[in-house]
């Protein structure tokens, strides 16, 4: 099927198999491998990206459903080589270790702050419960998101 998707500001016209998941489309067709795959049950959130500005687990969507939509992946978050405030907050607060969950976590966190610009610690924890991390114990991820909110 032919689709037209805007990804990180660029329009891509592609011909995809109907069963192609959005995550496979961005990784394999567009070569945007920053979006990671951590599970096969939509549990881990590693593949979170933005569809029309809102965080979506890209394994829960078919590429064809993204036809006509605007997608932002982790590669599209920095502007002119300057990291997004959320990326900076993760760096400054050691909110990542192995980095595998990080792109999804950052995309989910930016979406969270858009909905709730001044969350409490508990609201951050609940807001990120769809994204799993095995390295940080979440302590510094929560700290990073609160720091980004305070910026």
């Amino acid at each position: 099927m032919k689709i037209s998707v805007t990804v990180n500001g660029t329009v891509h016209e592609s011909d995809v198999e109907p069963r192609t998941l959005l995550v496979h489309y961005v990784r394999e067709v567009l070569g945007l491998t920053g979006t990671n795959i951590g599970c096969d049950t939509s549990s881990c959130g590693a593949c979170s990206l933005h569809v029309n500005g809102e965080a979506v687990k890209s394994c829960t969507m078919l590429a064809v459903q993204a036809d006509g939509q605007s997608i932002t992946t982790i590669e599209g978050l920095a502007v002119d080589g300057e990291m997004h405030p959320m990326q900076q907050a993760f760096m400054e607060n050691h909110g990542l270790q192995c980095g595998y969950c990080t792109p999804g976590m950052v995309m989910a966190a930016t979406s969270l702050l858009k909905e709730n610009p001044n969350p409490t610690e508990e609201e951050v924890r609940i807001g990120l419960e769809g994204n799993l991390c095995r390295c940080t114990g979440y302590h510094n991820i929560v700290k990073s998101v609160l720091a980004a909110a305070a910026k």
Partner: protein, 797 residues
Amino acid sequence: MTVTDDRPASVLGTRRLRKEDPALLTGEAKYTNDLALPGALHLAVLRSPYAHARILSVDTSGAAASPGVVAVYSGADLADTWGAPMPSAWAVTADMKNPAHYPLASGKVCYVGDGVACVLATSDAAARDALDLIDVQYEPLPAVVDLEDALSDRVVIHDELGTNSSYTWDLKVEGHEGQVAEAFANAAYTVSERFVQQRLIPMAMEPRAVAAVPQPFGGDMVLYSATQVPHILKVMVALTLGIPEHQMRVIAPSVGGGFGSKLDVYAEELLCVALARKHKVPVRWVEERGENTVATIHGRGQIQHVELAADADGKLTAVRIRLLADMGGYQQLITAGIPILGAFLYAGVYDLPQAYDFSCTGVYTTLTPTDAYRGAGRPEATYAIERAMDVLADQMGIDPMELRKRNFIRKEQFPYTAFTGLTYDSGDHLAAAEMAAEMADYAGVRARQATQNVPGATKLLGIGQASYFEMCGLAPSRVLASLNYSAGGWEAATVRVLPTNKVQVVTGTAPHGQGHETAWSMIVADRLGIDPDDVDVLHSDTAIAPLGLDTYGSRSLPVGGVAIAMACDKVIDKAKKIAAHQLEANEDDLDFAGGSFTVKGSPDRTMPLAAIAFEAFTAHNLPDGLEPNLEAQVTYDPPNFSWPFGTHICTVEVDTETGQVDVLQYVAVDDCGNQVNPLIVEGQVHGGVVQGLAQALYEEAVYDADGTLKNASLAEYLVPAASDVPPITLGHTVTPSPTNPLGVKGIGEAGTIGSAPAVMNAVIDALSGLGVTDMPMPASPHNVWKAIQSAQQGASK
């Protein structure tokens, strides 16, 4: 004249941000499955749905005809490919029984997930689609799920072994064997407990991924793998496949966590290399999470019988341990050795006389093989002694904190030679425990408990403690030899000062989240007096860093980091010869500080390292006989393990009606000696604590009687989310290790070691008024509720 010292204070011990982060945060980092490999074939593995079955036939014809399929192989088809079975590097006893284990099974399958056939196709989807078309006929055999059942040999899994027992490994104190029985006979108090270390699934967020890429001409092979151990993998692949080792290059790109699960040599690594050689094209494989839960190793899996003897004051007089350890269906790389790594720690941080008697029997089951998982034997040991200490305190009617204080090895006893012959380098358990108690308001919680935990109350407060040693920094090679381990425990480093005074560090450590690039740069910057940003750390590629033994067992800093510091010192020694020559001074008259050599008493006669690096490069004016260039290599074999320690205190509230455990506070006081970068230390502790807390409250690989994993996905296996865990309050004491020049100890596993017993002690403490004395992990609502019901039924009898 005023002299100002404008040298920067040392970067060591500062909270320097990680240089790894920008690439990881922007999506630029490449994990194995991100690599673009034009023309690569995709491998998919058909896995046994049976825990134990005979393979009667494998028909691959349907799959072979499937679109995109290039080849299909059964285990029998590839039998001639393997020069040797899959490697097991740790035969803990001379007579250990170890069944031959191949990347694909041919006669029999021994766990759900055991590979039986594989497909090579032009896409991952085509390869996986074709798996459904392979027809395997099985004759199901009875599963062996329970360790005690396995030990009975009711069903023998590996016919050729004649038994399910792999080995029995004992640790007794020579010349003191009789003391144990005597101590138990004369004890004022004895404790006898049975604890179960449930199986855990490591669940690194990056599933495994492999790509084998044949090189043009001559048979060289590059193997990319999401591994913690590129160096060990290189040797093992060469040995197993009969490839000359110098033709194997292993690269671990960015690796998304390991926790021990990527410290292994896996079937898919061998399959990719073998099939890439056969088909002369790159072959790649990526694990789905559902495969990961059955085909990547599990952790823990032990039944522990723990006996303590104590005198009237509660002073420990003997410890007797009997373990049953679950190997799973086969030995993986160091499966057998995992419980043995804990064997030295069942007396914990306590001053025990010679009366120690440890025995472990490893048994095969028809489950996924076990192997190293964060802490590897040491969390299990610490759990056993720390839970047993609480049982002893309860029996004596004294506070568990007080019991521990009576038994701690005291600060002035270090270095302390234990009954095992091992020497604990340094420690101050009392200071760590007191700091933790103050931070956790231990006395205050006890007071609140007295008012809150009244009869009829449904929200019960509990506080629990664990004090631990982490025997880590693996390891002195001679100690490993005494344990029958097949390799050494050294680490290598090269420090190379380039002509422009930029520095390359080549390390044999293989980071996968630990921040080695940042930490190693800081060590070099401190030593050489340069900026950490001028240091590039090269690692995880056996062509660039040919010598190394990789990252596990909290070894990277106390072994690999120390090697780097020593290589820096060697560079300085050489630079000093050049400086002395050029400044026309005696070497002994030169001081090196802030990156410059200065003649003592003549501050104007100075030569910076930058100038020496360039002189070493041009070689125009070097001392006679001195080789050009400024580079030094060190291989460091640690004289001892490192012994980090600490006390964790957890406060919980347990809802007796729902069984819900709410962690109110978690305090961890850890001592890893001098800290290179506290930011990284804290991150390691946070993550470790949550992994141990997850064992205590959430995680368990649940099998049915047929040996099928019931929670084989992240939807069913409860890896905690942010909302499931508490914030963590950290404290640190600093007791430098005297055994290495940096005074450092490892910190990677400490959090996991301290946390499971601290949490469980807190849960049991909360429920002690109801008569609950123990419960199995995890303390899930169901297990808590069951423990309360059974205690109350016991009381009403």
